[in-house]
């Protein structure tokens, strides 16, 4: 051990420690996300801790003085304001407890620092009625115990922190025994591991700050966290499982032999049957070796690096894990792409603020690639897609799953629905609020699509003869008629016009503006309160689309 000691912790050192914690969490973020199965398995614990810690550090940096109390108060305030997710809220309480204990101090002795960790753990427990053991709370309490014990032995600030990190790691390793759901998923608690990473980060930063290498400070198993969780450069290796029937050697010998051949080795069984679970870099060699021990059955080999990648990519595509975390502003930008048919419609959608339109052609049938390209083109991380047709929905969903941006689909079934949604679009709103408003806005519009039947048939249970006009409303044939105006007038008698003010007719490729004007005049006669509007949409398939808002 070096003779350099850290007898007191001042504000600047606390800031450095927090910076170290942030760097460490940033590096381990994916690992932490990967572990997240409790309380809700949404794989965002690492991201939440990182964002909360960023907010804490930001305020710690601008604290009014360099006193340790003032810096801790800043961190507590930042964490409170920037708390994200369950783990973030818990972390904010930890900082809050710490700052209370350090309040007013210019610098803290080892004992004062240890007590602040203890107060932090107590504060964390005070904010929940029924604490779950085997979580971040347990880890905080065990770390604090270790810290107090080290301070009582007369250790300096570093040895207090070292004891806290060591006890945290031990507590993390025990979490699967305390919380069955963790054991089931074969993971340790994500939040608890996150806290361990934070303490280790603080320790690293402080020990390098006073000039001795971290190598002396962290015992091997602490440097990377639990072995199974580290992401070695060569990858995660292969998760290999098999059963050995009629083993040729005694069980204990086989167990010993296999344990030396990989990580996370689990060998259970008896003299007749041995079940093996092991992580190895060389599955082929291992299996070849296993065949010399007995009959190998039920062999299963999985590439864990790939599993890990799949999970993180899923999270990125679901938007729970921003692809670029450093750029917070970009992560909140929102853009819209819309599938349209017809030049007129394309122009209308652009004029109302859509970032990119995809021309679905006459029949509204764009490829997934078209949609994907449009999403890519938009200069925003969050992209809302308006399919404007039921048949386009699937392609949009495929594009969503392929895109590395955060894509949300608002299920608009016609272009007027898309337009109604766009009216509610405001660029400064948060994505979730936007989705809410836009989805609601769709309900305010009633859409009637009209086309002539090209052959006699029965559609949606209604008999239609060739040449007849069908008025379609959300998959139902509302009315049929000899002419467009007849079908329109009939349908208007069937839909609710309560609270509606505007009736817009979009004239399609095969429509005629003059015919639309005649229809409008007829509607005006019958419903004088409605305001009428005619737009050239050039859309295919439907010569007239009527939207009532």
């Amino acid at each position: 051990m070096s003779t350099n000691k850290l007898e007191r912790l001042d504000g600047n050192q606390l800031r450095k420690a927090l910076e170290g914690a942030l760097a460490q969490v940033e590096a381990k973020k994916d690992t932490i996300n990967h572990l997240n199965v409790f309380p809700v398995p949404d794989g965002d614990t690492g991201t939440n801790l990182l964002l909360t810690l960023q907010a804490a550090l930001q305020d710690a940096k601008i604290s009014s003085s360099n006193g340790v109390g003032s810096v801790a108060t800043g961190a507590a305030h930042g964490a409170l304001m920037g708390a994200r997710g369950n783990s973030g809220v818990i972390l904010s309480q930890i900082f809050r407890g710490m700052s209370k204990a350090l309040q007013g101090l210019d610098s803290a002795t080892a004992l004062q620092f240890a007590r602040s960790l203890d107060e932090a753990a107590q504060a964390a427990y005070r904010a929940v009625v029924r604490p779950t053991e085997g979580t971040m709370l347990t880890v905080a309490r065990e770390a604090a115990k270790g810290a107090i014990a080290a301070a009582d032995r007369g250790g300096d600030v570093l040895s207090v922190l070292q004891a806290a990190a060591r006890e945290a790691a031990k507590a993390v390793a025990r979490t699967p025994d305390q919380l069955p759901i963790l054991k089931e998923a074969n993971v340790v608690d994500a939040g608890g591991f996150g806290l361990q990473v934070i303490l280790e980060g603080m320790l690293r930063a402080l020990s390098s700050d006073i000039g001795y290498g971290t190598e002396n400070v962290l015992p091997d198993q602490l440097r990377y966290g639990p072995a199974a969780l580290s992401v070695p450069e060569e990858g995660w290796g292969y998760c290999t499982e098999f059963v050995i029937e009629d083993p040729k050697y005694p069980f204990e010998e086989i167990k010993q032999d296999l344990t030396s051949r990989g990580d996370s080795c689990l060998v259970v069984g008896d003299q007749k049957l041995v079940r093996v679970h092991i992580h190895t870099m060389e599955p082929a060699e291992l299996i070849a070796h296993a065949t010399t021990l007995g009959k190998v059955r039920k062999l299963k080999v999985e590439n864990m690096t790939e599993q890990h990648l799949t999970v993180s990519q899923e999270l990125i595509s679901r938007g729970e894990l921003p692809a670029t975390i450093g750029d917070r502003d970009y992560a909140s930008t929102v853009g819209v792409v819309s599938v349209v048919s017809g030049k007129g419609m394309s122009r209308i959608f652009k004029s109302i603020g859509v970032d990119a339109v995809i021309d679905g052609g006459r029949t509204m049938n764009p490829s997934t690639e078209d949609i994907l390209n449009a999403i890519k083109m938009v200069d925003a991380y969050n992209v809302i897609v308006l399919p404007n047709n039921k048949n386009v929905l699937l392609a949009c969903q495929q594009a969503k799953s392929l895109s590395d941006k955060n894509v949300a689909i608002i299920e608009t079934l016609s272009m007027p629905e898309g337009l109604a949604a766009m009216v509610a679009f405001k660029r400064d709103l948060h994505l979730s609020e936007l989705l809410d408003c836009m989805t609601k806005a769709i309900q305010s519009v009633t859409v009637i699509e009209m086309a002539k039947a090209i052959r006699s048939t029965s559609i949606y249970g209604v008999q239609v003869s060739k040449g007849q006009v069908m008025a379609i409303h959300r998959d139902n044939i509302l009315a049929t008629g000899k002419t467009y105006s007849e079908a329109l007038m009939l349908s208007l008698s069937k839909v609710s016009l309560e609270g509606k003010e505007i009736l817009a007719i979009y004239v399609g490729e095969d429509g005629d503006v003059r015919e639309a004007e005649t229809m409008a005049a007829q509607v005006k006669d019958m419903y004088p309160d409605l305001e009428l509007e005619i737009q050239v949409g050039d859309q295919g398939v439907y010569p007239y689309i009527v939207a009532i808002e």
Binding site: R84, V89, Q93, A127, V129, T132
Partner: protein
Amino acid sequence: MRHAGAKLRSVLEQKGAFSGKIEIMPSVIGHIASHAALGCYGVMGLESHGLLDRFQSLLESMPCPKGVHVRAYPDHLEIDLHVIIKYGTRISEVANNLISAVKFEVGRATGLDDIRVNVYIEGVQKDEDIR
């Protein structure tokens, strides 16, 4: 709880095994929600709100737990939670965590997917209040 019944029935019908119905009482959902809520970080308690609430729990044979209301609709389930939150936590975040925890637990127990959770903050609890 028509929805839960309908969903399950369709599964059973597919298997050719349908011979009855399953009904989950709102109070059962209420208890699951209450349990999930009280395990949620930052939530200090559930609070009955107003006289009407107390009257109702007297009248109903199987009342929902305090501060929890469950309404079943044909296509979704709506749960109201009246909660006390820890002073010094970010209320919006605790409420969001609460919503996702309750949705997750109720969904896991019942198999329903359209669950809407409304959170009403009825008060905050300070440290001094417990001591």
